[in-house]
């Protein structure tokens, strides 16, 4: 029974994939939304039954679900269910979209449930590769370019990650996450392993510098896929850090400072780059990058002081929950807006966007406020007296600005620009998501994460107020300036650094192209020479032929007889002399 309980969340999507492949069409595409349900049930009900021992499968996989895991699993399930509803249009098209969608889901759920590094790594890789199918679904040139960048960085990330896991596992007594994390703390090449894990998961989490694939992938993918990508999948990077970094074992001042700085930088730069963009989806992508910065910050905080670790980890999980749901709401809304015909549908969507934007900015009583309150708790606990909280609120100002810009961009969009001829999906699922956004973050943590003290009302209402107001004020000022003076933001290409990256890769490829031919030519010349020499024996060679001709002549025969006789006489006479 426990096998069914634990394995259905992972295996159901695969079963559904088989069904939808054999019987494509509207009748089976609703299963897309049903597939994540068991995961939600497991998240909410929690590990009622003990994890099964599956000695046959892979290499003794073990499953486990701690409170942090449950929060993230709940987030993942909710986001995948709602996105599933809106993914049906793509699902009915040919091109294997359904299989990649469900495979990614199964990988996403699998990595949250796995408790040993091999199952975790397997699920992580399966999710990454399957998501490629979602990114390139539209088969346009931009989609293929986005897919290529996504894949290159994805494979690089996995390879670096595998190196880290191998090095960690070499010293670890077993393959379980806790054992490996413990071993990393004490191992000789700890810094190398930590660096590798940071980079490996950093690519997935979109840390600044490694984030370039996000702004390309989101606009290219269908909106439901972007929702899932931003809402659930990039959280896998966070999960990896929380589970595998030696959090709580011993303070790692060096690494925690680096992460804190990186987190803040990502948050600020993410917003800055976002402001320069025109396409709503790209803006949202940069907003995701910046929000992930906060979670990176929290991981840094957790590494700073062991005693603050549990709070920081819980805070990070809750922040992920808040951001995931809010971002999903935004992506779905942005996706539905173009095809939203009726005025009240448009206004409802715009109001929803505004609500989510406020939540992200941390408006009082919103999920953002709660998440930020807990974040501040963790920061004050681990790094008392530092100016980290002020920087965090500054970033919140940036987010408010970004959300305001998003609203302006969406209002400017002409309705009816979306793909016509397809029945407009109902808003029901989206509305439930909005409700979930409002309720989940405040309610779920106290139930699931007792470690977090319920924030006092002041922290939730008063403190987040000033960044919000400041942000709105700046937004208003800029909007006025724009209408009168017409100054517009400089437009940066989406994915900024990637253009530089691509040129660099092209350069390397050209150098290789220059270098390779002479190298291979030299080598093949050598092998041909060897073979040539061997075969040269077979070619007609006048010199040898003439010699043989001479040898077989009658007179030379006679001479040779005499010669050999003399040689033999000498050879026999030698010992006598």
């Amino acid at each position: 029974m426990s096998v069914v309980w634990w394995l259905t969340p992972i295996l159901l999507p695969l079963a559904v994939a088989v069904v939808t492949t054999l019987r494509p069409g509207p009748r089976t595409s609703w299963l897309l939304a049903a597939a994540p349900v068991p995961a939600l049930v497991l998240a909410l009900a929690g590990p009622l039954l003990p994890a099964p021992a599956l000695s046959w499968l892979l290499l003794e996989p073990r499953l486990a679900l701690d409170p942090v895991g449950r929060v993230l699993l709940a987030l993942t399930a909710v986001v995948w269910i709602v996105a599933g509803v809106y993914a049906r249009t793509e699902a009915e098209q040919r091109g294997g979209y359904v299989e990649w969608w469900l495979l990614s889901l199964s990988g996403n759920v699998g990595l949250l449930l796995s408790d040993d590094i091999l199952t975790f790594y397997t699920a992580f890789v399966v999710m990454t590769l399957a998501a490629y199918g979602l990114v390139v679904h539209s088969r346009t040139v931009e989609a293929r370019r986005a897919g290529r960048v996504y894949l290159v960085l994805g494979v690089a990330g996995e390879t670096v990650l595998l190196a880290g896991l191998l090095l960690a596992a070499a010293d670890a007594p077993g393959l379980r996450m806790a054992e490996v994390a413990g071993a990393v703390a004490g191992s000789a090449n700890r810094d190398l392993v930590v660096a590798l894990l940071l980079i490996g998961f950093g690519i997935k989490a979109g840390v600044i510098g490694l984030h370039v694939w996000l702004p390309l992938a989101h606009p290219a993918a269908p909106f439901a896929a972007s929702a899932v990508l931003s809402g659930a999948m990039i959280k896998a990077g966070l999960v990896g850090w929380l589970r595998l970094l030696p959090i709580g074992a011993l303070p790692l001042p060096g690494w925690s400072d680096l992460l804190v700085v990186l987190g803040l930088a990502t948050a600020v730069v993410g917003v800055a780059l976002g402001l320069t963009q025109r396409a709503p989806k790209v803006v949202l992508a940069y907003s995701s990058v910046s929000q992930m910065g906060f979670m990176t910050l929290l991981v840094g905080v957790a590494l700073a002081a062991p005693e603050a670790a549990p709070v920081a980890v819980a805070a990070a999980a809750v922040y992920a929950l808040h951001h995931g749901v809010a971002k999903a709401v935004l992506f779905v809304a942005v996706g539905l807006l173009p095809s939203a015909g009726g005025t009240w549908r448009r206004t409802a969507l715009l109001v929803g966007v505004a609500a989510a934007g406020l939540a992200l900015a941390g408006a009082p009583l919103s999920s953002g406020a709660y998440a930020k309150a807990w974040m501040k708790q963790a920061i004050d606990l681990a790094l008392p007296g530092t100016s980290v909280t002020t920087f965090a609120s500054l970033a919140a100002v940036g987010t408010t600005l970004l959300m305001a810009r998003l609203l302006l961009l969406l209002r400017a969009q002409r309705p009816g620009a979306g793909p016509a001829g397809r029945p407009t999906p109902g808003l029901g699922a989206w509305l439930t998501l909005v409700v979930a956004m409002a309720t989940l973050t405040p309610l779920l943590p106290p139930v699931l994460l007792p470690v977090l003290a319920t924030p006092d009302s002041g922290a939730v209402v008063a403190e987040p107020l000033w960044p919000l107001l400041l942000g709105l004020a700046i937004a208003g000022a800029v909007a006025l300036a724009q209408r009168r003076v017409g100054v517009t933001m400089p437009a940066l290409p989406a994915g900024d650094l990637v253009v530089v990256g691509e040129r660099a890769v092209a350069g390397v490829a050209r150098v290789l192209a220059l270098l390779a031919p002479p190298l291979t030519a030299a080598l093949s010349r050598w092998t041909r020479a060897v073979q040539g020499a061997a075969l040269a024996l077979g070619r007609r060679d006048e010199g040898l032929d003439r010699l043989e001709d001479l040898l077989t002549r009658w007179r030379t025969g006679g001479a040779m007889v005499a010669l050999v006789a003399v040689a033999l006489v000498i050879a026999l006479a030698m010992p006598l002399l």
Binding site: L537, G538, T556, M560, V564, L568, A573, P575
Partner: protein, 482 residues
Amino acid sequence: MSLVVLALPLLGAGVVALVAARWRSPLTLTVLVLTLLSGALMAQGVGSGGARVVTLAAVGLPAAVVVEDGLSAALVLVSSGLALATALFGVLHRDAGAGPPAAYWPLSLALLAGLHGLFLAGDLLTAYLWLEVVAVAGAALVAWRGDGARMAAATRYFYAELVASVTFLAGTALVWSATGTVVITDLAGQVGDSTGGRLGLALLTTGLLLKVPVVPLHFWLPAAHTLAPSAVSPLLSGLVVKSAFVILLRTWVGGVPEVGQPTLALLLGVLGAVAVLWGGLTALRVERAKVLVAYSTVSQLGLLLLAVPLAVAGSGEAWLGAAFHAIAHALPKAALLMAVALLAHTMGGGTVDRLTGAAARRPVAAFAAGLAALSLVGLPPTGGFVAKWYLVVASLTTGQWWWAATIVAGSFLTAAYLARLLQRFFRGAGRTVAGESEPAERGRADVVALGLAAAGLLLGLYPNALLGLLDVGAPLGVMARG
């Protein structure tokens, strides 16, 4: 038993010569079968009863000795078997439209008698007599119904054999005067440092080297073996070339190894190595398939000669390797010659290029040629491999690793020129063209060639019987110690 093996073919030759042409081939075949049986009996006798030396003392003449040891028994058995197969081949394969002429039958029996005589010869004088018989019979067989070129080749062959025999006789006489005996085994320790004896040995060896032949005395072989009719060349390439070598081996390894140490052994080794490489190189370049096979014989004989320096240095494996190689080369070489003759007949031309795509046109003969090639190169699991194994082990045990290198180089060259031949068979033989114009031919003669090639393979799979036999009476027994 050995006398029966000698008498049967000799008398047979006489009788067949008298009988009318129509009865000659069946009569010869029966004589050959009988000889084979008596050879088998002798081999069985030697195998169980051990080596025997029979001395036929005739008044006034130095004692004539017949050695019935493993080597002679094995060679007698193989030669009678091969002669039978070649005779069968002659009957089955209408070379130029007609079977072998009437003279073929008595001459082949005479040749066989001569060969047996040489294998069994224990003393130099008898050896000289049988050398004469082989010379005359061989040359006559080559010359039958020949055109100008074949007659020239036969004459050159005969004169070369004549010079060899005469020098051998002179050498024998000198050795006889120096040591007082002509029996090879009694020579041991007799020659010492007497100049006459050593001069005699030099002349004697020159004669043998001309007969084997060894490069540079190989001038007569390519023409003789190539232009000889297809029912004769297997005998020449397979057996006749080995007969002189047996005498050489018995003299220098059984008789007077101490005299040959180390300079003469080295000289013979060098001559052998030159033969291996030169034969191989030339075979790579010649145009006609039979010439390629002839030079392959020159190369393989060089390999045989390599065993002399090894055996003289006291390695039992060398004697075994040489003896085994003599046999393991005869069967596949004969098979290859027969197969090439058949293929040339089907493809209408003897040059290597004409044989393109032969695998499709005459698969059984092509397969026999392939199988024979494996033995000649010495690839396992054929008999050639066993011989090569013993020669390499011998050269490594006696520390003369350079002979091992020559053997490996030789087999590499053999692989190269035989691959050149075999590769032609596969060209264009990939796909059967819809209406197959020339249907694949299958003659009974192909089966003879395949049988001989398979015998070469069998030698590789079950070498123990032959190895045991060869070791009986070997100067430095291996099996006893092995």
